[in-house]
């Protein structure tokens, strides 16, 4: 902490703008190399509990249609299959970004991260299209308990993907400006966990909400 306050004015004289890139002192990550990664992993586990509760809510309320539409009336499974593959492709391209990062290729990392972002945006676009369509035909969260929990669960997942996409853009800028520094590598590794975790949650969403939903 004392280092950070000592560095503050020094940094300010080096560059007049604040560029949101916190440089850690070399001493710290010799001893706590994996501290941030484990901390981020624990955050993901708490996020997993949040989704678990939303799944429990959907399990309890998912069949209370209140004389409104049921999953079989609403869901287009072909569209969900395309969404699923958008996320799956983005997972494998993020893997390629990690491999390019290991090989120290800045351009390769950026290119694969950008491809991942495009697939992520494709997924978000399909989600927004689906939600807009549902809203338009009157299947709003207010229509039934089933639709309330559906919008809450799938919406929360969508918001996570949107947050991941924003984080991805920020990291692309950081890598462009500062290169593949130790800090940026760790940040890319954290987003990798986040991104793959969201794909994992989506597996539960399409299995439980969509595929099981249309069968019941």
């Amino acid at each position: 902490m004392s280092d950070m306050t000592a560095n503050g004015p020094q940094l300010a004289t080096e560059s007049p703008r604040f560029d949101f890139h916190v440089v850690e002192d070399e001493h710290a990550h010799e001893h706590h190399e994996t501290g941030t990664m484990l901390g981020f992993w624990l955050y993901l586990m708490s996020d997993c509990l949040l989704f678990g509760i939303l799944f429990a809510v959907h399990a309890v309320l998912g069949q209370n249609y209140a004389a409104g539409p049921s999953p079989a009336d609403l869901f287009e499974i072909e569209l969900i299959l395309v969404s699923t593959f958008m996320l799956l492709f983005s997972s494998i391209t993020y893997g390629f970004a990690m491999i390019a990062m290991q090989q120290g290729s800045k351009v390769g990392t950026q290119a694969w991260l950008a491809v991942t972002g495009v697939f992520g945006l494709a997924f978000l676009g399909l989600s927004i299209y689906e939600f807009e369509h549902l809203w338009h035909i009157g299947a709003t969260p207010m229509a039934s308990a089933f639709l309330s929990s559906f919008w809450l669960l799938v919406g929360t997942h969508g918001l996570h993907v949107a947050a991941g996409a924003i984080w991805l853009v920020v990291l692309l800028a950081q890598v462009q400006i500062h290169g593949l520094t130790h800090e940026n590598k760790r940040r890319i590794a954290c987003l990798s966990l986040f991104w793959h975790f969201l794909d994992l949650i989506w597996i539960a969403v399409f299995s439980f909400v969509y595929l099981t939903g249309v069968l019941l």
Binding site: L38, M45, L49, I92, M101, A189, F206, L211
Partner: protein, 116 residues
């Protein structure tokens, strides 16, 4: 962090191939209309493949191993899994019984009348 922690081209490839297969089978089952008259089995298969794909993602994409982070990663995952089982099974169990007992009176009376 070792290279092992980030995975290799081969491990990502295996994970991706398994995921594609494990995604296509349950979707094919629902889209193709197979097992339409046996919904219980269809749902069991969907859950089985979903669970398998989650395992694949945890191992090949999230790179969780028993040794990573001195075991804390696998330990926290197992603990989270335990909490999820309690939350999900507990909620479904309790709410199912609550719904049974909150049944509209006429249905309850019918059921009592049909008791042996």
């Amino acid at each position: 962090m070792s290279d092992q922690a980030h995975g290799s081209l081969k491990s990502y490839g295996i994970g991706f191939a398994l995921s594609v297969v494990l995604t296509l089978i349950p979707f094919g089952l629902v889209l193709g209309g197979a097992l339409e008259d046996n919904v219980g089995w269809a749902i069991a298969i969907i859950f089985l493949f979903g669970g398998a794909q989650i395992m694949v993602h945890v191992y090949y994409f999230l790179h969780v191993t028993l040794g990573a982070e001195d075991g804390w990663q696998a330990m926290s995952l197992a603990f989270t899994g335990m909490l999820l089982v309690i939350i999900l099974a507990g909620s479904i169990w309790v709410m199912f019984h609550l719904e049974e007992n909150m049944m509209p009176a006429h249905e309850l009376i019918e059921r009592v009348e049909q008791l042996p």
